[in-house]
Every structure is written in structure tokens, then in C-alpha cells.
């Protein structure tokens, strides 16, 4: 059964490429999400997370300044954001990278290239798991 997802939740998309931010934004809008903000690297994302109430983070892995993995570790170490669900969008499909992300507390990951359906499934898995936790 599909989980109930609050489509008004505030989602932060983090990617150094505007193209990927736009692709992810388009998919999230297709799903029905309306409250979306963006950051172009991990450091800017962390600043937004500390200042605003972000309900869900979708982040790239490979970024300059602060990688997605470092951002994830920082989120988990930030009191007000430590329980925020994080979906990693990555070209890093190798097993050791996935293990690193899971150890750091990622909720789910999507390997590029991906379809809109895959992203939706991964998001539903995150919120189903959290609803049952």
C-alpha cells in the first residue's frame, strides 16, 4: 500500500548542475509536490537547512566544496535536522559507495540515469518505512 505523503512538505534539492536540479524538480512537481527550494552545493544546502524548516532533502553525491556524503553526515550531526529524510541521487552505484551512504544514514538512493517512476518509488519507500518505524 502506498504511504500517505504530505505534498506540501518543503523539499530541498541539492546539485551543482542546474540541469539535474531542474530534472528532479520536474519529477517532484509531477508527483504533486509544490514547496521546493534548491541549493547548488552542500555548503549552501547546510546553511538553508540550519535557517529554514526543511522536511526532505534530495541531494547529489559528487559536488565541489562539500559532497553529498559530507552533507548527509552534517545533516545527521545537526540537532534540528538529524531526522530529516535524505534521498541521494548519484552516479556512484558501486557497492562500497552505497555502503558508505547507508552507514552515514541515507534513507534511500537513486542511481543515475533514472526514470520519474524510479524516483517516485524511492520516495514512497522512504515515507512507508518512516511511517512504520
Amino acid at each position: 500500500m502506498k504511504p500517505e505523503i504530505n505534498l506540501n512538505m518543503k523539499i530541498l534539492i541539492v546539485d551543482d548542475f542546474a540541469t539535474m536540479r531542474k530534472i528532479v524538480r520536474n519529477i517532484l512537481k509531477q508527483i504533486g509536490f509544490t514547496n521546493i527550494v534548491e541549493a547548488d552545493d552542500g555548503a549552501n544546502a547546510l546553511s538553508i537547512i540550519k535557517q529554514e524548516k526543511i522536511d526532505f532533502v534530495v541531494t547529489d553525491w559528487n559536488m565541489p566544496n562539500m559532497t553529498g556524503l559530507e552533507l548527509l553526515k552534517n545533516i545527521r550531526a545537526t540537532e534540528k535536522a538529524k531526522n530529516t529524510p535524505v534521498l541521494m541521487v548519484t552516479a556512484e552505484g558501486l557497492a562500497e559507495n552505497v555502503v558508505d551512504a547507508v552507514k552515514a544514514g541515507v534513507d534511500n538512493y537513486v542511481v543515475k540515469p533514472f526514470t520519474a517512476e524510479t524516483v517516485q518509488e524511492k520516495i514512497e519507500q522512504i515515507f512507508a518505512k518512516r511511517a512504520n518505524a
Binding site: 551543482d16 540541469t19 531542474k22 552516479a91 543515475k112
Partner: protein, 155 residues
Amino acid sequence: MNVEFINPFLTATIGVLKTMAFTEVQPGKPFLKKDKISRGDVSGIVGITGPPNGSMSLTFSSGCIIAIVSNMLGESFKEVNDDIKDAVGELSNMISGTARNDLGNKGYSFKTSIPAVVAGPGHEIMHMCKAPTIAIPFSTQAGNFVVEISFENGA
């Protein structure tokens, strides 16, 4: 260069463009490229650190990349602008990442750099090593593009 390296980049190119840009591409016959002059209008290049070290580039004709990015983002583009260049960087990132994952499953351990993008007719592509460059031409309904790979000798 190890011919085992060619196929992962070929299949990654077909897969990424089909999945992310809904674009069917036809590969042509690979050839040895002996100069640095690009075979198109805009290129993305990614450094690959092994061993072996190497690099990959993608070079698109204007018409080809405008059609691909228009499909990918659901917007209509008319010229090679900053949005198109950003998309070339992301496509380079995805294709090199997918090929690297494939090669990783074959026992190779690679890291890839953040892509650089160069545009303009006749621009040069500087690969990371002096080894021969293998070019794979592709065609689409909107025009052609070329994927180049170069790995240091002995690979």
C-alpha cells in the same frame, strides 16, 4: 588502449540518453582520432583517475544537443546557451559515471573529475594523456555527436 574500455562508454551513452532524454541514438564505427579538433560545437570532458588514467569527452553538434536538452528538460531551446552547456556537463557526468560503475564491476577502480564544458566551432579537446584517442560517432534524428575516450598506454 584496452578495447574492453570501449563498450562500457558506448552502452552508457545509449542508456543515459534513452532514459534521461528519451532520445534513441545509433552508434557508428569507432575510429582513431589523431588531432585535438572537436567534431562539433559543444563538448564536455571528464578526467578519469585509475590506474589507468584517462579521459572521456562528448562533443555535440548544436542541433543535436539543443534537441536532446529540450527533450530532457521539457523546454524548447533555440541556441547553445548556459542551460545547454550545464546539461552537457551533467550528461558527461552521468555517462562517465555509468561507464565507471560498469568497469568497477569488472574489477577496475576509477574516480572521475567534475566535468569541464567548452563551446564554439573548432574548439580543441585536451585529453588527459597522450595515448591514442578512440572516437565513437553517434547519430540521432536531430544530428550527430561523438564520444571520445583515451586511456594511458598499457591499459
